[in-house]
């Protein structure tokens, strides 16, 4: 695992994202309402550029015919087929045991955004 400085924290304000290539891998670094996430930019389903998808919340598992919105800013949704993944650990919301996208540790260190990948 290598330490990569991808830029200053000021260059990645809340609501923004950057896609960088680290060690030959395309990785999205996302600032969702002040929280940083780093996610492999390849959807495990069909290889779509996952980090071009929307970041939002979603409907939580509920009783029939009831909607409960939650996990605001914690879910990224693939731009192709709409598969949802947890930004926290990369697990698929539909099938967490069967599908997962790789996530990486990301920190702000001395004003820099650092990804460990």
């Amino acid at each position: 695992m290598n330490r990569h400085v991808i830029g200053s924290a000021e260059e990645l304000p809340s609501g923004s994202r950057r896609v960088v290539t680290l060690g030959g891998r395309s990785i999205g670094v996302i600032n969702a309402k002040g929280r940083l996430y780093a996610v492999r930019n390849v959807c495990p389903h069909h290889g779509a550029p996952l980090c071009e998808g929307s970041v939002a919340g979603t409907m939580l598992p509920s009783d029939p015919h009831e909607y409960r919105y939650g996990r605001e800013d914690g879910v990224i949704r693939c731009p192709w087929h709409g598969f949802e993944f947890s930004l926290q650990d990369g697990s698929s919301l539909a099938c967490p045991d069967r599908m997962r996208v790789k996530t990486y540790r990301v920190e702000v260190e001395d004003g820099d955004v650092v990804v460990y990948a």
């Binding site: 979603t58 598992p61 009783d63 015919h65 693939c78 087929h81 598969f83 949802e84 919301l93």
Partner: protein, 385 residues
């Protein structure tokens, strides 16, 4: 002489084949009225006989459709082969109208251990515009079935008929009859609302509480009446219409799964009679894939939808698939998880009848045992006896 010997040999080999599976449960057999609705008059009040115009009508009125009620069926689609096995007629008795003869012909003849009766000419009552008419006919049929069939041969079992138009009346009928001897299921005629809709939930609640599976069947009224189940377009020919009936079952299964009916009623079981099953493979695959992207629209579907289908929905086998290449049969059965999902049916006395030994001849013995005996026993439970 040689012809007779050949015929005898053929009979023996038939008998041997039939011996392969003992205790076959036939999940779809149709008892018929010999005289249409008139057979139900002993089981109706005078008020209802008047309402339906089937009391003491003049001799000419039977030939005038407008002079009395008729049961909604497929009057606009004509089966040129006849909709019934003509060899199931018995003297003056039309096919499926004589419980004793049916016991001899079907049950003895094919080694059927239990036969689940699903309303013969009542298949289409979901199309009646008046819910009370449908409920009255269903209730009278249930009396008729008990008296004229279930009490005639101990191998018969019955699916309780209800009117889907009026769920409260349907629940009252379930409460009235659920614990009668021989009742193993609820026959819910289809109408123009898909099965996942809330309209049906009182029926599902009662079915679950009594541990009775819901059976549905092509209604024979598809696209014929305004309140009948709808298919795409209006087919011209019987062949076209009959093959397209699977559309309705596909839509109903999707409706059940997407509305989360099996989340709400976790013990409910549904049997799709005569609706085909090969389509279930693609339906499960496509639904699971699309659900991964559209899960948030139906967040109550908490698991891949195919899992609910495999746990709660059963398909009766007839008319069994006949792939162009025999070697495609087993992969297909594997795709639909036939060892869990299929239950044998003959559809006697209809024209497209399946003989358990002939129709399932290409199915390995252990799988045939599952389909003909174990799966139906799991579906209907102890009531099957």
């Amino acid at each position: 002489m040689s012809i007779a010997v050949t015929a005898q040999a053929s009979e023996q080999s038939d008998a041997q084949r039939r011996g392969v599976v003992a205790g076959v449960i036939d999940c779809d057999v149709h008892p018929n009225f010999a005289n249409g609705l008139r057979d139900l008059t002993p089981y109706m009040t005078e008020t209802w006989r008047r309402r339906l115009g089937i009391g003491d009508s003049a001799s000419w009125s039977g030939s005038f459709a407008a002079a009395s009620f008729m049961l909604p069926l497929d009057y606009l689609y004509v089966n040129t082969a006849g909709a019934y096995r003509s060899d199931a007629a018995h003297g003056e008795m039309a096919p499926g109208t004589d419980a004793r003869y049916t016991a001899k012909h079907l049950l003895d003849g094919y080694g059927i251990h239990r036969a689940v009766l699903i309303a013969g000419q009542l298949l289409g009552i979901g199309a009646f515009p008046d819910p009370e008419v449908a409920a009255t006919v269903a209730s009278a049929y249930n009396e008729w079935m008990s008296e004229r069939w279930l009490q005639v041969d101990e191998r018969y079992r019955g699916a309780l008929a209800i009117a889907p138009q009026d769920p409260d009346a349907a629940v009252r009928e379930i409460e009235r009859c659920a614990n009668r001897p021989g009742i193993v299921a609820i026959f819910m005629p289809l109408h123009d609302l898909l099965m996942g809709e809330r309209h049906y939930y009182p029926i599902y609640e009662a079915a679950q509480r009594h541990e009775l599976p819901i059976c549905v069947h092509p209604s024979g009224t598809e696209n014929v009446f305004a309140r009948a189940p709808r298919m795409a377009g209006a087919p011209t020919y019987y062949l076209e219409w009959h093959t397209a009936l699977a559309q309705i079952h596909q839509s109903n299964v999707l409706s059940l799964l997407c509305h989360g009916v099996f989340e709400r009623f976790p013990k409910l079981k549904v049997m799709i009679a005569e609706g085909g099953f090969a389509w279930a493979a693609e339906t499960m695959w496509k639904l699971d894939r699309d659900w991964q992207g559209l899960r948030d629209e139906v967040p109550w579907v908490k698991r891949p939808p195919s899992e609910y289908l495999l746990e709660h929905v059963r398909f009766s086998t007839q008319p069994f698939v006949e792939p162009h290449r025999r070697e495609h049969l087993l992969p297909l059965l594997e795709m639909v998880q036939a060892e869990r999902t299929l239950v044998f049916s003959s559809d006697y006395p209809h024209w497209d009848f399946d003989d358990p030994s002939r129709a399932l001849a290409g199915v390995p013995d252990d799988l045939r045992q599952r389909i003909c005996v174990e799966n139906p026993r799991e579906l209907f439970g102890e009531r099957l006896g």
